[in-house]
Amino acid sequence: MDKLRQRAAALLADGTVTLVIGYEEGTNKPRPIFCHTAEEAEKLIYSSHCIHNLAVYLTKKELMGTGKVAITATIPALRSILQLAIENQLNEENLLVITVTDKEEVKEFANFAEIEAYIADFQLKLEGKEQEIIDKLEGMSREERFKFWMEEMSHCFKCYACRAACPLCYCTKCIVEENRPQWINPWAAPLANMEWQINRAMHMAGRCTGCGACGDACPVGIPIHLLTRKMMEDLAPEFGFTPGQPSKNGNALSTWKADDKENFIR
């Protein structure tokens, strides 16, 4: 941790970067912090409890300013950064990506290619709890699944924390704010909530990097991250992707193959 603080303080002190986005101690668990000075860098921490995907801030212009920004990225954040880079949302010149390795070494990435090489060693796996819910759902009848999700969706009050916490939800005007046509009813009701989640998942198809930030952010505890997570597991073999390894060959829905499955089409 000291190494990270020292490095961040040095970067800020010598003007290499104008901002370091990292983690500090929060009320119950670590939370994001924006360090503008070397003194503030003293608050930085890094541990397995740091779960926020800080990549979410990289597309917010008013926070990033015009100078170079350093970010301490966890593995899920690195995946998001890579996906954002593929979608041309990041400026390589103005970003210094830092991570802390298992051996507590501070690692700085010179470019996005290095990130790609680094995360290739980390396989994205479903966590025990996620697998448990997916197994439970797959064991259900269709009617039971519908009931499960409708019950879950009835809790949603449309705070859009899922959207706000997702690094890849960076549209300045979201589909739910469009009203001509108004695809998704803006009020909170189970159907409108489900339609919103279906849209979110579809817009994430092949882009989601499986960080789970949406599910973590949900204040009413709906396991919405499973929608995109399950989709990833299903689509990966179908379309030849590896979950958690952003593909440079376009995302699932912007590309196609002549021999894509069509056994469900008459």
């Binding site: 929060g26 009320t27 119950n28 668990k29 939370r31 994001p32 912090i33 924006f34 926020h52 979410v56 801030y57 917010k60 008013e62 926070l63 879950e152 809790h155 009050f157 449309k158 705070c159 859009y160 924390a161 959207r163 706000a164 916490a165 005007k173 704010e177 009813n185 803006p186 009020w187 909170a188 009701a189 973590d216 952010a217 204040p219 009413v220 505890g221």
Partner: protein, 336 residues
Amino acid sequence: METKYISKNGLNEWFSQIVKSGKRVYAPVKEREQVEFKKVQALSEVADEYIQTTQSIKSAVFPRAEVLFSYEKESGKVNVEDFNPDTVKETVLWKIHPCDAAGFKPLTAIFNWDYKDKLYNAHLEKTTLVTFSCAKADKSCFCTSVNGGPGNTAGSDVQLTMLPDGGAIVEILTPKGEALVQLAASAFENDKEEDKSKYLADVPQMFDVEAIKAKLATAFDSPVWKEQSERCLGCGACAFVCPTCACFDIQEDAHGSKGKRIRCWDSCGFSLFTKHTSGHNPRAVQSQRWRQRILHKFSYMPDRLSVLGCTGCGRCSRACPVDMNILEHLTSIAKK
């Protein structure tokens, strides 16, 4: 005001009489690792071991989505069907906290500011508030800093303070509360003159709200808003769990010739909340929106409506995905 005692069995009897009377009863229920207010039928459904429900109970008087009126178009003409207050059911809010009851005062101030809101009032009139004083609190709680307290009776119709024997001290505070007690009058016994304060949680006062108000009067251009809001993601979680946030949107649910006009929750934290048709947005960045949230609750509302827009329930701090702890932010403003 009258104080009585009710035994554990008496409590069961009273509760079943309330349900039997046909009133809807909303109470905290533990489900999916969350405690939320739900419609209940039996006392056994009511949650026990928890500090605070995730959401406030404001939805009882200000639903997430509500039909203001409905209409039908017929060859150029429109027939309108007004909201009918008779459709609103008598409701009992069981085991809400004193901070929940306190939340109704600012809501009423907003919804009845000059123009009386018929829908809100219809709900409120038919709602009876049964608060349970708080025996426990956590570090997000700060009711004592905003003129409240774990045994505060303001706003409640009846307040219960649970006793170790499973019974409770019953403070009957309003005619509505009295009427609720009358549903099972024999279940109540004479006051045992227990000292209520012995059973209340210790919630230390963290700041002087008057001092904060004074500071905020000149804080509009302060750098504090940007400093505090940098990590804010701009979601609406804080507003939607808040017992006093009342911002709403008016929307249309139209199908062919029929339709409904709907009021639904909205939040000043959303980026498009204030955006003009012209494209100009007076609150274009998150720091401005965070400022609005704090100033509205702690400066504008006291100024304009003579009521504080915060009850210290701490829900926003607990619900925030990035730990925008309001208590911490307020104490830091107080110290500046």
